[in-house]
C-alpha cells in the first residue's frame, strides 16, 4: 500500500493547489454595487472624450494583443511607386517560396497527411501479477508513423477515394510492422449530411468490434487496454473488406453536428491478425465474419441525450488447434466466436462506457485417454466513468484563429473497473483491475496520463495478494 501514496500525493496536491486558487480569488475586491449611480453629464463628456482620444491614438496593428500599444495607420493615398514596391516584395516572396519548394520540401504525387505518435512511461508495482502490464522502470509504448490522404476527390458527389499507410511498433520486440494499410471508397454521395453515408474499405485495418478495440489510443483514457481486448485478440488489426455506413441521420446545422440513428459494419477478414513475418496470406483458407450495429440517440446537439449509444457486435471465425492422439499431432479446426454488447454516454463534461464481451475458443481436451476438440468460453465486463474539465473535446472551440500556439488546458479524471473471467464454467476464477486515473492535456497532441492500477486475481474464490501499480505516461503525436 505504500506505493499508493505517490498517486494520492499527486491528486492531493491538485486538490490543495485548486483550493489555494479559490482562496486567492476570493481576495479580489467585491463587485460593483447593485445600486445604479447615474453618471453626470460632465462624467459622460469626460468618458466620451477619453474614448475619442483612445480611438484617435490607436491604429492598425494586426495581431496586437489587447493591452499593448498600437501604431497609427497611414491613410495617405497609394502612389505608383508604392505599388511597384509592393509588387517587388511579392516577387521576392514568390522567389523565396519557389526556392524553398524546390530545395527543402517533401513532395507527394497526391495529398498526404503525415502523422505519428509515441508514448513513454514509467511504472512501478508491488506485486507479482503482470496482467496489468506494468513493470518497474521506463518503458517505450506503441509508436506509429503514417500517411493518410486522398487519392481522388469527387466534387460532384463526394464519392472520394482515401488511403492510409501506417507502420507501428510491435509491443514486445519494437519491430516496425504494417498497421493501417487500406483503401477506402465512399459509395454513396457524402456531400449532403442529411443523407446516409456508405463506405467500403479494403486492406489491413481495425476490427470494428465494440468500443475498447475501436477507440484510437489518443481518445482512450487509460494507459493499458482492457484485458479482454488483448486476450480475445480484438484490438489487433486484420486483413479484410469492411462495409460500413449509417442510416437516418440527424443533422444539426447550427452546431455542425451529425448523428445517424443506425450505424452498421460488416467485415470479411482472414482472422490471422496483422501482417507480419509469415503472415501474409490466409493460413486456414477460411474467412471470418464480423458485424457491428449501433443505435445512437437521434437528437440535436444541445440535447442531454447527445452521445448516448447502444451497440452489439459479433464475430464468427475458425481457429486451428493441434490435437495429439497416439503421439500423432492432428490439426483440427474449431469455432472461434465473439459476442459483445455495449452502452456509452459520451457527452461533455461527463461520460461513461460499459462493455460486455464473450469469447468461445477451441481447445483440445482429453476424454477417455483420447484428445478431442472442445471449447472454452470466457467473458469480460468493463466500465469506465470520466469527467472532463476544459475544452479538449469541444471541436468547434479548439479550432480557433490565433497567432500563438494556444491550446485549452484540460483535465480528465476517470475510474475504470475491468473484470476478465477466462473460463465461464469457473466463475470463481477471474481477474479484476481497478484503475483510477488522471489525464492532463497540455498541448494540442500531447497528454500526461497517470494511472493507479489495483489488480486482484481470484482462483476458486481465493484472492491473491493485490498488485498495486502506478504508471505515468506521456503520449504525444503530430
Amino acid at each position: 500500500m505504500n506505493k499508493i501514496n505517490p498517486i494520492i500525493l499527486v491528486l492531493g496536491s491538485l486538490v490543495f493547489s485548486n483550493a489555494n486558487l479559490q482562496a486567492a480569488e476570493t481576495k479580489v475586491p467585491a463587485p460593483h454595487s447593485a445600486v445604479t449611480i447615474q453618471p453626470t453629464d460632465e462624467e459622460n463628456k469626460a468618458e466620451n472624450q477619453s474614448d475619442q482620444n483612445l480611438f484617435d491614438s490607436t491604429g492598425l496593428t494586426p495581431g496586437s494583443t489587447p493591452g499593448t500599444k498600437t501604431t497609427t495607420v497611414d491613410t495617405e493615398p497609394v502612389t505608383h511607386a508604392d505599388l511597384e514596391g509592393v509588387q517587388t516584395q511579392i516577387n521576392i516572396l514568390q522567389e523565396q517560396w519557389q526556392r524553398k519548394l524546390d530545395k527543402g520540401t517533401v513532395l507527394s504525387t497526391r495529398n498526404a497527411n503525415l502523422s505519428g505518435s509515441f508514448t513513454v512511461n514509467y511504472g512501478f508495482n508491488n506485486g507479482n501479477i503482470t496482467s496489468a502490464g506494468v513493470n518497474d522502470g521506463f518503458k517505450a509504448g506503441i509508436t506509429s508513423l503514417g500517411f493518410k490522404g486522398n487519392l481522388h476527390r469527387d466534387y460532384e458527389a463526394g464519392k472520394n477515394i482515401d488511403y492510409a499507410f501506417t507502420i507501428g511498433s510491435d509491443k514486445t520486440t519494437f519491430n516496425l510492422l504494417p498497421s493501417d494499410l487500406y483503401l477506402s471508397y465512399q459509395i454513396l454521395p457524402s456531400l449532403d449530411p442529411d443523407k446516409p453515408y456508405l463506405y467500403v474499405t479494403v486492406g489491413q485495418q481495425k476490427k470494428p468490434f465494440g468500443l475498447e478495440a475501436t477507440t484510437s489510443d489518443d481518445k482512450k483514457p487509460t494507459v493499458t487496454v482492457a484485458q479482454f481486448a488483448s486476450t480475445m485478440k480484438l484490438n489487433e488489426r486484420d486483413l479484410g473488406l469492411l462495409i460500413h455506413g449509417d442510416l437516418f441521420p440527424v443533422n444539426d446545422y447550427g452546431f455542425k453536428y451529425r448523428v445517424p440513428l443506425i450505424e452498421y459494419n460488416f467485415m470479411v477478414l482472414n482472422g490471422n491478425g496483422p501482417i507480419g513475418t509469415g503472415n501474409l496470406a490466409n493460413v486456414d483458407n477460411t474467412e471470418d465474419l464480423l458485424g457491428r450495429f449501433v443505435l445512437n440517440a437521434p437528437v440535436e446537439y444541445n440535447n442531454p441525450l447527445r452521445g448516448l449509444s447502444v451497440g452489439t457486435s459479433f464475430y464468427h471465425g475458425q481457429k486451428t488447434t493441434s490435437i495429439t492422439n497416439n503421439n500423432v499431432a492432428v490439426a483440427s479446426k474449431g469455432d472461434r466466436n465473439r459476442f459483445g454488447a455495449d452502452i456509452a454516454y459520451v457527452n461533455t463534461p461527463i461520460g461513461f462506457t460499459y462493455e460486455y464481451a464473450q469469447a468461445k475458443d477451441p481447445v483440445a481436451i482429453t476424454v477417455n485417454k483420447t484428445n478431442v476438440l472442445s471449447a472454452t468460453k470466457s467473458d469480460s465486463q468493463t466500465f469506465t466513468l470520466f469527467y472532463n474539465f476544459g475544452e479538449q473535446f469541444v471541436k468547434g472551440f479548439v479550432q480557433q484563429d490565433r497567432y500563438d500556439d494556444w491550446w485549452p488546458t484540460s483535465y480528465q479524471p476517470f475510474f475504470r473497473i475491468d473484470r476478465l473471467t477466462p473460463d465461464t464454467s469457473l466463475r470463481s476464477t477471474h481477474t479484476d483491475v481497478y484503475t483510477l486515473g488522471f489525464n492532463w492535456f497540455f498541448a494540442e497532441t500531447t497528454k500526461l496520463q497517470i494511472n493507479y492500477n489495483r489488480t486482484l486475481s481470484y482462483v476458486n474464490n481465493n484472492k491473491s495478494s493485490p498488485d498495486n501499480a502506478v504508471v505515468a505516461q506521456f503520449q504525444f503525436g503530430f
Partner: protein
Amino acid sequence: MRKIASVFLLIGIITTLISGTAQSADKPTVIRIGCTGSNRPIPGNAFGILYQLHLLEEEFKKDGIKVEWNVFKGAGPASNEALANNAVDFVTFGDLPSIIGRAQGKIKLLAIHETRRSAYTIVQPESKAKTIADLKGKKWGVAYGTSGHLYFSKLVDKFGFKESDFKPINFSSGDGKAAFLAKEIEALNVGSEVVDYLALNQGKVIYGTDRAPELKGTAGLVVTEAFAKKYPEITYRFVKTFVRAAKLGSEPANREKTLSLWAATGTPLSTYKKEYANIPLALILDPIPDEYTISHLKDGIKFSKEKGIIRKAFTFEEWYDGSYLNRALKELKLEKYWPASDINGKPTPR
C-alpha cells in the same frame, strides 16, 4: 465496496474543487468572449473596435477580471458549440446561428452587433447563368449553419424553388472560396468580399442583397442566461462598453479610422470602402433593435421553423433582454443617437 465508494468520493472531491476554480461566487475571474474573424484572428464591427482599443480590458482591469477572446474558425456553429459547452459567456454571431442557438439553448440577445449585412451570389466569370433559375441542378457553395445559409434558403424560396432543385454543397467560407476558384462549383454565396472577386474578375454577381434588401443579415450580441443571472452588473458594464465602441465607430468623423480598424481583420480597406460607400456606419453599428432588425429576426425565426432548421419556435420578446442596453443608453445619453429604421429600412423617428 468501501474501496469503490472511496474512489468515487475522491473523484467527487476533485471534481468539485477543480470546477470551483473556474469562477468565484461574486464575480468571474475571466470574461470569455466568442466571435468570428475573417482572414485574421481579429473580429470586426463593434467587437473589432472593442478588441483593438482594449476597451473591455480597461473596463474590467480594476476588478482583476481577465478578458479572453476566442475567435472561432467555425463561425456560428462553433459559437453555438462553445455556448452549449459553457466555454464562453458572450458571443456575437449572425442571425441564423443565433436563432438556432436560442432554439436549443439558454441565451439572451442583448443588442444588435451588425445590421444590413450584405450577401451576394456569384458565378464563374465564364458562366452563362444570369438568373437564379439558371443555377438549377448546379453545384452551389453554401456555408450551412451560418447567416449565409439563411440568405440561401430565403433566396431560393423567394424565387419559388426548393433547395433540392440545386446542388448545395456545404463549405466553410475558406473552403468555399478555394472550391470556387478551382472552378469545382458553379456558384458561391459571399459577403462584402464580393468586390474582390469582381476586381480580380474571379466571379460575377447574379443576385444579391443590393436588389433584395430584405435578404440582408443581422448579427447579435448574446450572453448566456446563467452568466447574466449570476453577474448582472458585469453584464451591464459589458453592454455599456459595447455601446461606447458602437458609438465611436458610428461617428462620421471616425469613419476612415473605423474602416482601417476593420481592415485589420484581413478584409482589405478598399473592400470596406466599396461595401459601405454612401452608407453611414451608424446604420451598420446601431445596437438598438428597431423595426427593421426586429422584423428581420422575427422573420428568421418563423422561416427557420417552417423549413425545419429549428424544431422549437420562440418569440423575439422571449429572446431579447433590453434592460442592459436601455440602461447603458440612458447613462450614456445616447437614447436618440442612432437613427431608427422602419420595417423597410427607411429612416424613422426614434
